[in-house]
Symmetry: D2
Subunit: 295 residues, 4 copies
């Protein structure tokens, strides 16, 4: 029973106090006292109840404990050596481990300003964000008053914990921490799902440039075999889906001009709610298309 | 009556032979003999008849005259000093006067290969093309046989002449040398034309990058006051229209998430037929949009 | 210069008082005193100013004159003999001259209830209504208080007058009394206007049944040569446009199942604002379509 | 083990010959010899194999047996007393038990003409048809030559048998005899599924009139809890889905004109392939909608 191997809720309920704390001690960064508080309240019928108990201990702690908890977190984009395994994996997701020298310095500068003002490092649940939205939150939250920002930081700590708990503990229920991004291509020229359409999902950055998140091809039902983003939060940010509609209709033998009116169809959209389902379908002919937030 | 000032068809019909040739001598590059042939066939009832007469003289000329005509044309992207005023203006339109050192060398290399194979310079009606499609035509046409390519080159010479003639001569009729690119934004959330939508038209390049062609804002009818491209051929190539739909709905007071699902809507399309009308409208709500080749 | 022949604003300004009143005496039903009041205020620079002057005389009249004016109007659906030529033409438009025995009795019953309550006949600008909306207004307005309903009735009298004035007097300006209903069919299978689509416009009735308003065929631009309703108010009510999309695609040689997925496409919509432009286009493939209130 | 109670494929494989024939003797109308032929070929691994064996016996029978099989079928819309329980249930589905006197006479007349020409009654798998398409098939098939029509009739006999077999026998596999008709309503004004939209599915008739097939209300996902037509063939014919879009947006508090531009949205479509899935979604705002054959 270690932090890396999923453990069942039953096992946690049955374990002695020491093993319980060992299993959940890292859910809250370097702060086993949260797990200790929850250990006494066992058994938990659901994962939600366990999460409620642990986050309740955080919310109910006195100010000095809260401050210690916040200070137990690493600097964003800080030195890898200081990170717990969970922190490292989370920061990789948002591309914070692939910063250029300039970007690294920008993050460090933002962090120093923030820490100087509030007395603790900037904490954000990076799995819910793209690099752009991390930067935007940095700027917005640095303007907060200390009491408001302390609440914000604790809320992020609890979000991080919820994601870790949902990943580490097997139970009949799951915490509502994941979203989904999916697509569907309909060929309204032939009146059937569009099979074999190549598509790419890119994350866009305000400072320019884009990052390929995933590429795929539609199956016989016009969908990708797996959702484009699945079993994790959909990071807040801007995206572009690119559908190779021209190649598709050319292969289908439709007589098209050279170049075809539509080749790559880009659909640009933003995600604001990472725990929700974003379905972004495309209905296309060689001369027209529609898209919408579906369900 | 000079090549730069429009002249009327009546004036041309009434002019003495010398003035007629002076007025039209540059329609076919450095080849006044074409105008001379037409002078004898006056009067012309329509501009189309005048064009038919001049192009007929070209088609009916013997091979050595045809070759001289082809050789009277400058190298594409060649030294500016060699160009007639018309040639210079035409090449500027396709951005051939703004080539980087590398691109200039690429054009020169292509031209040398072409000239070596065929014995005359590469001629193309550049006002009908973007930089990308000029390059593509260069590659495709270099593969032709000499007889096929001589026909292609003469066809381009006649296209260039038709555009010059349509611009230089006032008449009741016009030659079918111009196309049009227009747009229209409908707000299907409020059921009315979308007024005040900022939009940009970009020309895209296969080698990456894009060039802003024109920016505008929709009027009370959801259209731009003038067509995006008008009174000229719509250059063959790939384009992207970008509509600032998010700002529009925010200003209209619609309650949107942060960031809005739709901010900039890009519509990417290609033009294959420069003398046609491309109408590319957008029907949008904050959560959906459609586009199509309209009329 | 009679009520049936258009007269110009200049002629009216120049006419003697008697001829002026003769020309405009019937604009307000059997009430030449309205024209007399306006005669003294000549000359009028615009038709709008003339209308303003006449309607101002009505609004400024004392209560007994207002009541007389209201009582000068015929019962809706009443005996034809009592009607002025204008009233007769107006009532024909809403189909009030084609009532069945039952409907005629229903109208008479409504009218008796109304007249008993208010002391004057039910007046409505029938050219702005379908039969259904006349009936609905009958029911709604019978519930009004006397002061409210007197205002409503006078407002309708002025609307009727505005339409008559706009029809009888030629001037540089026109009163804003007319709307328009138009359509446009785009073939997004071939990417071009749909030429040769048969269509019908029907007025629907809540009690069931429908009345063909007009039938047509789309031209080369995908439109009807004239707007479906033009140069008159678009009557408030419910409509259905029916487009013979199946026949169109069959004739175009598209391979379709038997029966085709789409044959007649019905588009049902309502008009609430008779002086506005209703543009109701159809974008269709053999397997999909869109429609919207356009502009 | 009777014709009315489902029986499992295992039971059929294990039963003695007499019980097997008793269980399947009515799959082919009044013709137990087909089941007898299959009894000898047991065991069957799949329902498809059993069906293949029985239909193979029919196809391989000599002409006189085929003719007897055809003549074992009742007249369509004939006297109820002559029908097997299966035939009665099947004919009710297409409304053939609810014929008016005129319609009954029309069916009898068609049947007499048919029988006189071919020497056997008109056989059609009525569960795959609406009343209109039964009549259309009657007319089309009466024009066939005898050899062609004998093949057609046998094909229908086998279709009828496949549906009966699929309904009477439980097995791991199912015969591909069923289709599906479903819908989905998206609210592209709010960017979410449209919950609570009342809808009706009507079967249309060429001779006018329509028959309500099913009414429903969309759930939180914008769908009906069950497909509109499910677990049976979707009868060939013309349909209209009617969506109460106006009421939906009014209840959602959207400010609409009176009457709203869209109230009931009718979507008219035809089914040609009863064993397929017809998904007919609606994307709607108060001012626009789209529909298409989806998947």
């Amino acid at each position: 029973m270690s932090a890396d191997t999923p453990v069942s809720l039953e096992e946690l309920n049955a374990a002695d106090r020491q093993r319980f704390v060992a299993a959940l001690g890292l859910i809250y960064e370097h702060s086993p006292w949260v797990a200790e508080a929850a250990a006494a309240r066992r058994p938990f019928k659901t994962l939600a109840a366990l999460h409620e108990s642990m986050s309740g201990a955080v919310v109910g702690a006195d100010d000095s404990r809260k401050l210690s908890l916040l200070n137990a977190h690493p600097d964003l984009a800080g030195k890898v050596a200081q990170l717990t395994a969970d922190s490292r994996a989370e920061q990789q997701g948002a591309g914070l481990d692939r910063l250029s020298e300039n970007e690294f310095n920008e993050f460090r500068r933002l962090n120093e300003t923030y820490r100087k003002k509030f007395g603790f490092p900037f904490i954000i649940c990076v799995r819910r964000h793209t690099r752009d939205s991390v930067l935007r939150q940095f700027e917005l939250r640095t303007k907060n008053s200390l009491p408001v920002e302390r609440e914000m930081a604790l809320k992020e700590v609890i979000r991080i914990a919820a994601l870790r708990l949902d990943g580490h503990v097997r139970a009949a229920d799951r915490l509502k921490v994941n979203g989904r991004l999916s697509t569907h291509v309909l060929d309204t020229y032939h009146g059937r799902p569009a099979q074999g359409v190549s598509l790419e999902l890119h994350e866009l950055s305000h400072v320019g440039g884009s990052r390929l998140v995933i590429a795929g091809v539609t199956n016989a039902d016009g969908r990708t075999d797996n959702a484009l983003i699945n079993d994790r939060p959909v990071p807040i940010g801007r995206y572009e889906l690119r559908f190779a509609v021209g190649d598709y209709f050319t292969r289908a033998g439709v007589d098209l001009p050279d170049p075809p009116f539509l080749e790559i169809v880009p659909v640009r959209f933003s995600v604001a709610d990472p725990e929700n389902h974003y379905h972004v379908p495309l209905l296309a002919t060689p001369w027209s298309y529609s898209t919408y937030r579906g369900s």
